[in-house]
Amino acid sequence: MSALAVRGLRVSFDHPLGLVRAVDDVSFDLRPNERFGLVGESGSGKSTMALAIMRMIRPPGHIDGGDILLGGKNLATLSAEDVRQTRLAGIAMVPQGSMNALNPVMRVGDQVADAMRDHDKKPVGIGALMARVGLPAGTADKYPHELSGGMKQRVCIAIAMCLRPTVIIADEPTSALDVVVQRQVMRTLADVQRDLNAAILLIGHDMGLMAQFVDRLGVMYAGRLVEIAPIAEIVRRPRHPYTEMLIASLPSMDHKDALRGIPGLAPLLRDLPSGCAFHPRCPKAQDRCAIERPEPREVESGVLVRCHFA
Amino acid sequence: MSNAPSRRTVLASAASLAAISPFGLATAQPATVPREKTMILVWSGSREGRWVDYELWNPYSIGSNHQNGPNIVYEPLAFYSAFADKTYMWLAESYQFTPDFRQLTIKTRAGITWSDGVPFSAEDVAYTLNTLRDSGPKVKWGIDVRQVMKEAKATDANTVVIDFLVPSPRFFFFMTYKYDIGIYIVPKHIFEGQDWTSFKHFDLAKGWPISTGPWKVTEASLQQKVFDRRPDWWAAKAGLAPLPVVERTIWLPSVGEQALAQAMITNQVDAGFGIQPATFKTLFNGNPKIITYTGQKPPYGYVDWWPISLYLNNDVKPFDDKDVRWAVSYYIDRGILIDVGYLGASQVSSLPMPDYLPLRPYFDSVKDLLEKYNTLEFNPKKGDALLSGKGWKKDSEGYWSKDGGRIQVDIIGFGAAGPAMGPLLTEMLKRRGIESAFSMPPDFDDRFQKGQFVGSIYGHGGSINEPYGMLRLYQGQSVAVPGAHLVNFSHWKNAAFDKITDEMFAVDPNDKARMLPLFRQAMEIWIPELPDVQLVQNFHRIPWNTTYWKNWPTQDNAYVNGASWHLTYPLVLWNLKQA
């Protein structure tokens, strides 16, 4: 059984010029203990999907359909209060490293404590928790602005693990951190995951980081999941032309803007090309691609691709 | 931060609104007096909404104003009612001038005591006058006394002999209480040794301020002054006046006409201050028991001694030209001023003195002059002719001009008369070709006195029962009064007129045979010159409530004028009867 199963998820936003579909018919499974990566250009819908899984899409956005199954519960249809209880306890999130995810006017320890308290847990063991993610003693009494970026991110990890969830969504947890700190934070995350026996959904656009960290990888393009495969398989043999181009640009992967290497512009979500959304940029595109939308196919065991020619 | 008491009060009131209590709490709570024995009045004293001077009962300090209560605390040598043309000898029993008016002997009444039990005597009178002379400009009335008085001596307990520097036939009348003028006799045993400029004479525990009169101050705070009747008042015992029926009178500071109207309609207040004519209809509708001097009919009041003029600064060209002044006068339709400015509730005034009974003979003596030079005439043609005659021509925009300059009358005003008439005057002048604007500068008094104005709406505090006071207002120079101060707001100068006025200074005002010709001579100069433009009488339009009190001084029963702020108000207080 999967730790998390997403089935046919659709998220769209109301816009004065029409409906914008940010996540379109996305399905995938997260196995227990697994590290699953999700890559895509910015605007490809990966962060929206993370929010959708947490049921945190705010108006004017909304989930249009699909199921989010977590340990027998469907988050897509659960009552608001039940969803709240499930957050952190069942599925936790490590926010983007570039975000100021911590309330600047509260001591960080309090920000762990209130999470526990609101889940009817006594706020104990915070010091141990901090130590567990490699923070020095006394950190809990500090304010966010007194911590470095890496330390703040560790605090976020500590918060994410404090209720021992089965799934952790990490949305670009190391963006805005320098490379050395990045490594350390990722190591901490890996340790925590092992510790908790949790599954991790790692979202990002840094293929290099993904290659080192995840077991399986999903590739998103224009709100759709275009390929899912074990990481070794993808690196060795990408099936989707888009994935292929991503891998091809790997030599410059240490660069933040690695994905800029792909010719053409990412499409506007509110004005998607017909058929396969990638066809205007695709070197292999044919007439069919502009008309017919490819459905996901399992071309090999464990490898799903959305392409007519894979 | 600023100082100890304020910090304390700040903290107190920050705690709750209810803590607003630092007012008059130190004083004992006055005993209750039923409403029907209490007379409550509102007076628009020096500050809106507050008795800033509540602890100042020394009437000579320049911060003191007799209008705010001292007028019923200190008794005079005599009262004078202009309406009844009657003098009431009071602390003084009689007085006698020497024929040359260089000495005055006053007999004071025996058997009068101050409220602290010390007998009143001639010493108090002499002390008051001598201290005034010595203090001079430091205190009120000091210069008036210093200019003419050499020495006051108490020759025995009931006799004061006053020696003058110059003949002073009006000195006793000057000391007599009427309107706002009179000498307050203060207790020597309290005031002696005190600095009159800052001594307050206030300490309720000691019974201060002490008084010979029927009123004792029992409470004084920012919000109210409470006076209680003293049953052992000497004048009641002596049969000079009845013991007042009013047992308590509460004086409240005004917070505006609208509040007064509301309070009178709801019977919270028995007497008001002078208000605008327009408000009376609302008052009568709201409370039919409210009356005025003229009942419920216009002008809702009586003529004050303060006729209002349009002053033209004679130092400013072209107003040094009497023809220009007359032209301005001819351009003013006084009917409109009364109908629109006062809603019909006023009267014109042909000379700068009120048409009081004792003054009528003087008016009569210049009747022909006023017919020839009608100071009230509205006649634009005559005005045009005068200006044309002096070479003024109307320019393309219809304004009178000469050598490229127009006639410009910028008028300043204040109080009630300014706004009531100012805009109308400028409008009338503009329509006749004279540039004009109206303003009410905050520093009106300063400008007016320094002569920094062109036109000004102001009154004349001059004559009541004989014309010298009025003439004095126009004197440009005086030899008769040593170191005389000059009022001369219009800056008009005429040596012959000055001489006549000086001559009149030494004449006994009761000597009509000499007074009338002198007045006639002065007016023969003054009227054709017209130093300022005559407009209207000043009215005191005071609402009185007959719900609790009657026998107010109305026109059928005009025992005195009814202003609570005048020195004669004690007469009203002992005449009031329960309704």
Binding site: - | Q258, A261, T282, V340, P423
Partner: protein, 279 residues
Amino acid sequence: MLRYLKRNPSLAVGIGLLSVLVLFLLVGMVLIDPEDARPLSAPALRPPSWAYPFGTDRQGRDLFAAMVVGTPLTLRIGFIAGILGVVIGTILAFVAGFYRGIVDTLIRGIADIGLTVPGLLILIIIAVSVRGGLTVNQMALVVASLAWLNPTRTIRSQVLTLRERGYVEVARLSGMNGPEIIFFEMIPNLLPYLGATLVNAVSAAILASIGLEVLGLGPLEAPTLGMTLYWVNFNAAIINGWWWWWTAPIAIILIVFLGLFFMTVGLDEIANPRLRRSV
């Protein structure tokens, strides 16, 4: 434009209200004789009728004419003072915020201290030193003399945040000089904010002028809205039941302030789009 207004109802309401007012003034100017706004041009104290749609006041002004003549005067005071205030404030704010250092300290200090002095004191001192009656333009200058303090402060802080933005740094590195950066980079970015500040300043200036006038310190003969209220108050019109005398000026003042207010709210939304999200 119309489409945009649909999304920004506050701006639409604001513009709508002010348009109604302008329309009233334009129609009024056709219908009235401006002379009727002067005293003695009509019988005094008439309630509204066909001849005098807003009634007349105690001095015989036709209140309809007085409103048509007086409203633009009040607006003129507000606009002159408001514009002067914002222009001076903007210049000082940019000089202070951009060059920093001693200039900034000086300007900021002056503005801070200026704000501690009771405005009324300064306004009265100026009013006192103007000999003769105050004219409407002088009144505007009196109000303007204090109207620059607040804009200076608020715009300065905006300039300071703007300074830290990347594009200003880029512009500086690309060799633009100070005034160029201010004119080509900063002012365009601040325009919506300056717009909102201006509208705010205008309504503050109108408020200040009406306040002074109600206290009797305005141009006594001009039929401005504030002076009309002064006469209302002076004549105790409220308790005397002359309701028409004060309803018209109060209604117009309400329209002016509400219109300006909704315009600032609308402009704020342009300047700060996040606000648009709720309500």
